[in-house]
């Protein structure tokens, strides 16, 4: 049994009004425990809607099983928000407590944990996010943007979710901030063996971190494949308003002009190997 099974999932906003719009149209796929999944799609393609279904925030039509429980059924969604941790877009806008400690402790507190256990969880989450204990008594509102983002992520991590879902966690951060959040996620995924689902507009981030990618286009699931399979279809990705990494386009062009290289290249390392192989091949010919 897969950890997440999505069957014929549909969702509409504004049903019965003139503004009715289909955000998810008959989506089906499944995710195994411990996978690192990327989610890409143009603005308005349904990414955020899909992510919000995972922890029971939205009530879609169809079936969505988490560990065999269909959370679309009445009363089944209870407690799912502890199992599936959702980090929204710009999560720093949702900090609300007067100290960093209280903000991170909010989730564990609502799980009904003891004071001691809450404290452990807060420290653990803090360490995970690369923050120092000095900031625990500070107000979250006096932190820098990057620090706020980390505190917000720590608040979700403190619940030790089995499945971590993040909606553009690196948006608006500089390369250092971005790399450190993504490195933390990789670690959570690797060490704890937890499932991570990550949406992003940055194809390089997706290429560097994820194993498989969900590609959304106008409320439908367009592809669900490994990174290199997805990037092999760069023409299609561009058609549906997405970017591909620079080197993917470069190698696509070389291939088109008849050079002996492969498509679906997306890292510098792969590109170096391709060029060396193509040069050697040329010599032997």
């Amino acid at each position: 049994m897969s950890q997440i099974e999505v069957k014929n999932l549909s969702y509409k906003y504004g049903v019965g009004t003139p503004f009715e719009v289909t955000a998810l149209d008959n989506i089906s796929f499944s995710v195994e425990k411990g996978e690192f999944i990327g989610l890409i799609g143009h603005t308005g393609s349904g990414k955020s809607t899909l992510l919000q279904c995972f922890n029971g925030l939205l009530k879609p039509e169809g079936e969505l099983y988490i560990d065999g429980v269909n959370i679309c059924e009445k009363n089944n969604a209870k407690g799912i928000c502890f199992k599936v941790g959702l980090v929204f877009q710009y999560p720093e806008h949702q900090l609300f407590e007067d100290t960093v400690y209280k903000d991170i402790a909010f989730g564990p507190k609502n799980m009904g944990l003891s004071e001691g256990e809450i404290k452990d969880r807060v420290c653990e989450a803090l360490k995970f996010s690369g923050l120092s204990e000095e900031i625990l008594e500070k107000s979250p509102f006096e932190l820098s943007g990057g620090q706020k983002r980390r505190v917000a992520v720590a608040g979700v991590i403190a619940m030790r979710p089995e499945i971590l879902v993040l909606d553009e966690p690196a948006a608006g951060l500089d390369p250092i901030g971005r790399d450190s959040i993504l490195a933390n996620l990789r670690e959570y995924h690797k060490k704890e063996g937890k499932t991570v689902i990550l949406s992003s507009h940055n194809m390089d981030d997706i290429a560097r971190n994820c194993e498989k990618v969900l590609v959304m286009n106008s409320a439908r699931l367009e592809m669900f494949e490994t990174i290199s399979e997805v990037f092999k279809r760069s023409e299609r990705l561009k058609e549906i308003g997405l970017d591909v990494p620079m080197l993917t386009s470069v190698f696509e062009e070389l291939l088109k002009e008849g050079y002996p290289v492969n498509s679906g290249i997306y890292t510098v390392e792969q590109a170096v190997n391709e060029i060396i192989a193509a040069k050697d091949g040329g010599k032997n010919a």
Binding site: D174, D204, M246, V250, Y259, A271, V272, I276, A278
Partner: protein, 283 residues
């Protein structure tokens, strides 16, 4: 004479220069230039940008825009009209509910003749490619469209210079492309001076000149080709280089002779073709 000039500009948010956000900056930007300012968070790039139209005033030193000193209270309104600013968050910059009313907001406040306003609004929307949305509700637009409306709002004031502070940071790839295309067009067709603050390397690569900020100081100031040759230095201060530059860096390590300054897709294809062809010829 330089259009924008900073002379020994230093700035600290609390007036204590022992932890200055900007340290002794001397730059000159000429009319019609397209300059990108690169740097990681906290490098001082936004602080510098905010000095260029008098949102912030130097703690020490002087900034002049088109010959006017930004510290001169009486010149301030004229400076803001000369050099307009676009910010990161598209939602914070829309003031009216209808697109064309939003664009008309500034000229209306300048007391310009209504017929002239009509003309300016139409022209501005045409330039940013938003004419067909002029009667749309502004808050229903996409992020990229909102940023273009914000740019149109500036254009209606007929500025000589537009300063953009990470205008694409919150946009998707399509929105980013729309905005970048608009910026390039303003520079090449309308001859508007562009100062683009960004941490996207591909955007900086489109400028004619790149200024790299680090710890409140100017670290590099040159053409994109030259700046991106310093891959090691850029990485050491937490910046990315374009994938193509990184590839050249790695190929050199493999004793493959390639130029370092390769910053666009096309250049990269050309260089790789050359090294692949080279072998065919030798055989």
């Amino acid at each position: 004479m330089a259009f924008i000039k900073t002379e020994n500009l230093s700035f600290a948010y609390d007036d204590d220069l022992s932890h200055a956000a900007l340290k002794n900056i001397n730059i000159e930007i000429n009319e019609g230039e397209f300059v990108a300012i690169l740097g990681h968070n906290g490098s001082g790039k936004s602080t510098l940008a905010k000095h260029l139209n008098g949102i912030l005033l130097p703690t020490e030193g002087r900034v002049t825009v088109d010959g006017m000193d930004t510290a001169d209270d009486e010149a301030l309104i004229k400076i803001r009209r000369t050099a307009g600013m676009v910010f990161q968050n598209p939602d914070n910059q829309i003031v009216a509910s209808i697109v064309e009313e939003d664009v008309a907001f500034a000229p209306e406040n300048l007391g310009i003749d209504p017929l002239e306003i009509r003309k300016r609004v139409d022209e501005a929307l045409e330039t940013v490619g938003m004419t067909k949305y002029k009667n749309h509700s502004a808050h229903m637009l996409s992020g990229g469209q909102k940023q273009r409306v914000a740019i149109a709002g500036l254009l209606a004031m007929k500025p000589k210079c537009i300063i953009l502070d990470e205008p694409t940071a919150m946009l998707d790839p399509k929105g980013r492309k729309e905005v970048m295309k608009t910026i390039k067009k303003l520079n090449s067709e309308e001859n508007i001076t562009i100062v683009l603050i960004t941490h996207y390397m591909d955007e900086a690569a489109k400028a004619k000149r790149v200024i790299v900020m680090n710890k409140g100081e100017v670290m590099l100031d040159d053409t994109p080709h030259y700046v991106f040759q310093n891959a090691g230095l850029l990485k050491s201060i937490g910046l990315d280089v374009p994938q193509s530059t990184e590839l050249m860096f790695e190929l050199r390590k493999q004793d493959i002779k390639v130029p370092l300054a390769v910053i666009s897709d096309d250049e990269c294809v050309t260089v790789l073709k050359e090294i692949l062809e080279e072998d065919r010829v030798t055989d």
